[in-house]
Symmetry: C2
Subunit: 326 residues, 2 copies
């Protein structure tokens, strides 16, 4: 089935068929009816590839995340999908697993014109060949930042949020606060670490213990905590940069026969549902994940519609949620 067949069936030209398909122009209503009828009876569906090739618009955006199993990622993706759908866009998901090869091959979709733009939650510094691509390309970073390049981003003030969490632990009487961070190729990891360090030094507290998780998973959190517990001087509090990591830390603490928060207080990050699932329930920093996703799409669409538009930097609010774990 092609537009040709429909044209023949309806006794009009392909141009006319195309016009009713795009309900553009004014087509004489009798012709419109005949076309519509032909479409109906032949169950015709336009070929999207042809359309996109012709218009050089794909109405698809590529979303690259490092781990879709992280509930925060999933929430952001939901927001992205909602807003994309409202604007007639679809998303292509690439679950990079922080794998450079996979990321690189995904980026081929962009140069191959399969997608109109990209939203990344991955660390920028890990994305290859970026310098040659950015600038020409609608791109937004989501819950993460780009130092260089003309790239929009939407996120929260990570340093502030981190400082707030650490201060809370200190005020609570904790003396030895450890940090379970994501690897430092992520800008947000750098910022949160900065917050952690700055509060400690302000308060003249010289205990410092940092573990880096290679991914935002329960397992990574658990082994990070196990490492912390192996040290001669154990922490009495731990701030993990994701709820998933925090859940892993809590499991490790439990396995070691210690209690949260009595022996070790725990604070997470993200404010996902997971924080309510664990016991004791997790104190955490809530990010407006859905909205972050939605705004990422808005920024991206603006850039797609107007490539000259300058990069924007959107800072969203965050909220500290006090629960039983700290």
């Amino acid at each position: 089935m092609s537009i040709q067949k429909i044209a023949k069936l309806a006794g009009v030209s392909v141009a006319t068929v195309s016009r009713v398909l795009n309900n553009s122009d004014s087509v004489k209503s009798k012709n419109r009816e005949r076309v519509l009828e032909a479409i109906r009876e032949s169950n015709y569906q336009p070929n999207l590839l042809a359309r996109q090739l012709r218009t050089s618009r794909s109405s698809m955006i590529l979303v690259m995340v490092s781990n879709i199993a992280n509930p925060f990622c999933a929430d952001v993706v939901k927001g992205i999908e909602e807003e994309a759908e409202m604007n007639g866009y679809r998303i292509l998901l690439c679950n990079s697993g922080s794998d450079i090869e996979r990321s690189k091959s995904s980026l081929g979709l962009l140069s191959g014109k399969m997608v109109d733009g990209i939203i990344t939650m991955d660390a920028f510094s890990r994305l290859p060949d970026l310098s040659t691509m950015i600038g020409q390309t609608p791109w937004v970073q989501c819950a993460e930042y780009a130092d260089a390049g003309d790239v929009s981003c939407v996120g929260i003030n990570d340093t502030d949020a981190s400082e707030f969490a650490i201060r809370h632990l200190l005020e609570r009487g904790c003396k030895r606060v450890a940090l379970i961070n994501h690897d430092l190729s992520y800008k947000y990891a750098q910022l949160r670490e900065r917050g952690y360090k700055s509060v400690l030094s302000q308060q003249g507290n010289d205990f410092e213990a940092i573990e880096y998780a290679s991914e935002l998973s329960f397992h990574a959190g658990r082994s990070a905590m196990e490492n912390l517990l192996r040290a001669p001087l154990k922490p009495d509090a731990v701030f993990a940069v994701s709820d998933t990591l925090a859940a892993g830390a809590m499991r490790a603490i439990d396995d070691a026969g210690m209690k949260v928060p009595q022996d070790i207080a725990v604070i997470g990050f993200d404010g996902t549902e997971l924080a309510e699932m664990v016991s004791p329930q997790l104190t955490t920093i809530e990010q407006p994940s859905r909205d972050i996703g939605r705004h990422a799409v808005s920024l991206l669409l603006r850039k797609i519609d107007n490539p000259e538009a300058p990069a924007e930097r959107l800072m969203m609010g965050w909220r500290f949620i006090a629960r039983a774990s700290a």
Copy 2:
């Protein structure tokens, strides 16, 4: 940048350029070099849309899930993505949220030739216009079944698994076993309910309490459990058809001031990491989620390569994991 420009640059025809791009045929090595050189210096990337239009192959598959935030879904999707990548395919994710409209519009990608096939985890009976599409279309159901139509599927024996779980609870001494099920438009929900009922009737146990969750989420599980707890005769055990639902149930039990498993034993389903995150850790039925995803892709690819191939039905193994919750 188009193949034309490269041809001009290299001083050959577009056909030759195309040949080296597809490293088909034998191109004289001097010409190959010149083309490769031209490609390099102009940073050329082939337009995928044009290629796909011409070859009528998109190398993309549509994946429809009801809720990507459900860790089981996320794991299956990871498996799908891995296997797809190994075969040069990409995935388009549609997080339907069980929304008919969204599902329907996604299906347009198929008829629009944007994807070569579909993998669904959604309930079949909810997908609209299926009868007109199936048969012509490479399609596989994943962790779910189709009664009708020529559709392949891969999953586990849900009835057996469910019976095993219920029997475990009964053997443990539980007298009043409730079920938190997904809505019955899902075939697997029907099968697991059948397992639940058959064991109870075999054993002459006439307590029956079933709650239906509208989605596989923590919240839905929590409210289902709250409903069960409102009944005059409370259950002393509950079998939830997903770990996420079970986590919600545990939260409700905790909120009601009761203990798992002493007051109410809980068994989940899926064997996701979540089962290790909650306290007490969750007894559950493990599905080989990653492999389910991988095999779904294999089946699909076989169908794409050979449309005449009959539908296949793949049954995977499952495993009961006993932990503290039951």
